[in-house]
């Protein structure tokens, strides 16, 4: 099971310093066998998330081209209408990034930008439909590996996962909120030969990372995404 760090591009840090620190972090993770980090060539080594900070596409490009790091781009449906999304997708195509991870996104009322207009022009299913069909000649059908972030705490989450499978989503990222996910949902997604990951915020990990990984080892996940908030001080660097 591969462990993949995910981090948002920061608001006020220097771009180059942040980039350098990420490289150090990835090397530390690679060299730390205790972290159970095997590397599967097909999976990304890091996920860069666009939220409030500087443009994550720029960083994705630099990690890929300058440092040869397999990078995935994570973004939400909260901030972009379909014109802005198209622009991002064209940029991703231009820089050759194929792995995208999409989530609906935290509502502005739950952020520091309470007066921002929540866009949610289309939901992740809608985006999946468009991507699998192709978009305006610029984005050919099935150009991206489409990863969807979902919940797993209610029957309606299972239904959403089924719909996402129907439209051809490639991988699933189950949000971990302190309770182990629904096993029937895991079995269903795996039975459809889809990649399955657990999405964990580092603050949800109460003990050591190793103990946490052991506790979920039997679920059959292909990987665990650990969302960290600081590239220097985090669950990977904690002694």
């Amino acid at each position: 099971m591969q462990i993949i760090p995910q981090i948002e591009t920061p608001v006020s840090k220097n771009y180059s310093v942040f980039e350098e620190n990420l490289i150090k972090l990835l090397n530390a993770i690679k060299n730390n066998t205790q972290n159970n980090t095997g590397t599967y060539n097909s999976l990304p080594q890091i996920i860069i998330e666009q939220n409030f900070g500087f443009n994550a596409l720029l960083l994705c490009r630099d990690l890929k081209e300058k440092h040869k790091i397999k990078t995935a781009y994570a973004f939400n449906m909260r901030d972009k209408n379909r014109i802005s999304l198209l622009s991002d997708l064209i940029t991703l195509k231009q820089i050759g990034l194929k792995d995208i991870i999409v989530f609906e996104g935290v509502h502005p009322l739950k952020t520091e930008f309470k007066s921002a207009k929540p866009v949610y022009d289309i939901d992740i299913l809608g985006l999946g439909l468009m991507l699998k069909r192709g978009l305006m000649n610029d984005i050919q059908a099935d150009l991206f590996n489409f990863g969807a972030v979902i919940g797993s705490s209610a029957p309606v989450d299972f239904l959403k996962a089924k719909k996402l499978i129907d439209i051809g989503a490639d991988s699933f990222f189950i949000n971990y909120g302190g309770v182990n996910p629904d096993e029937s949902m895991i079995k269903y997604i795996k039975s459809k030969n889809k990649k399955l990951f657990l999405n964990v915020k580092e603050l949800s990990i109460k003990g050591s990372l190793n103990d946490f990984i052991k506790s979920i080892d039997n679920f059959g996940f292909d990987g665990v995404i650990i969302k960290i908030t600081d590239e220097n001080l985090n669950v990977f660097t904690r002694k």
Binding site: F103, V106, K110, I122, G151, V156
Partner: protein, 211 residues
């Protein structure tokens, strides 16, 4: 009912600054129900304007000022006074304000803020259930509108942030997709649970509201 709230009186006074002869129009329909434009509010506005040194040329409550047919009939009662009037304070939703402005060709000042299409629990307690969002999907969602009731307006299932039952944003409220699921089960319409909605067509709704 379309919910309105009273505007800050200072904004109205500011908008009326250069006008002396003022008419006041209320709405005996929606704005009356939510106590922003009924006959009592019209009287209060008249009193305020007179206390501010304005001359109130007429007051009238129109059943539905948003309906040109009704407006045309009712406005005849103040036809002469309207000729002398410089500006009209309208205590109705934005549709009423604009309809009166267009019809009378007078300067109109809105006395309310327009909110949303509301269900009335009782006077003072209202809920938004319908966003008038063009294509109604209620027949497929168990009769609950996910576009209006989900703070994210999602179509195809819950966001990743709910806690199993309650909404991520309004934590004391049930997630609308959980409610929709329960209703579809109740009416044995489980097939609709698998329905995939295409992204909303905003081009369609823009064409509908084109002026």
């Amino acid at each position: 009912m379309f919910l309105t709230e009273k505007k800050d009186i200072q904004e109205i006074d500011e908008a009326l600054k250069k006008y002396k002869k003022i008419g006041v129009v209320g709405c005996a329909s929606c704005a009356s129900v939510c106590l922003t434009g009924g006959s009592r509010e019209v009287k209060e506005m008249k009193k305020h304007l007179e206390a501010s040194g304005k001359e109130v040329t007429f007051t009238i409550s129109i059943d539905e000022p948003c309906d040109k047919r009704v407006l045309k009939e009712d406005i005849r009662f103040v036809e002469d006074e309207l000729k002398e009037t410089e500006a009209v304070v309208v205590l109705s939703c934005g549709t009423g304000v604009q309809t009166i402005g267009e019809f009378t060709q007078k300067k109109v000042i809105s006395g309310t803020d327009s909110k949303y299409i509301a269900q009335t629990e009782h006077i003072g307690e209202y809920y938004a259930l319908c966003g008038g969002c063009d294509v109604c999907r209620l027949n497929f969602t168990g009769g609950v509108c996910t576009v209006t009731l989900c703070p994210k307006g999602l179509l195809n299932g819950p966001c990743e942030g709910h806690n199993g039952n309650n909404c991520e944003v309004f934590e004391d409220k049930e997630c609308v997709f959980v409610k929709s699921y329960e209703m579809l089960k109740k009416y044995s319409e489980e097939d609709n649970l698998n329905k995939i909605f295409e992204p909303r067509d905003y081009g369609h709704s823009a064409a509908r509201t084109k002026i």
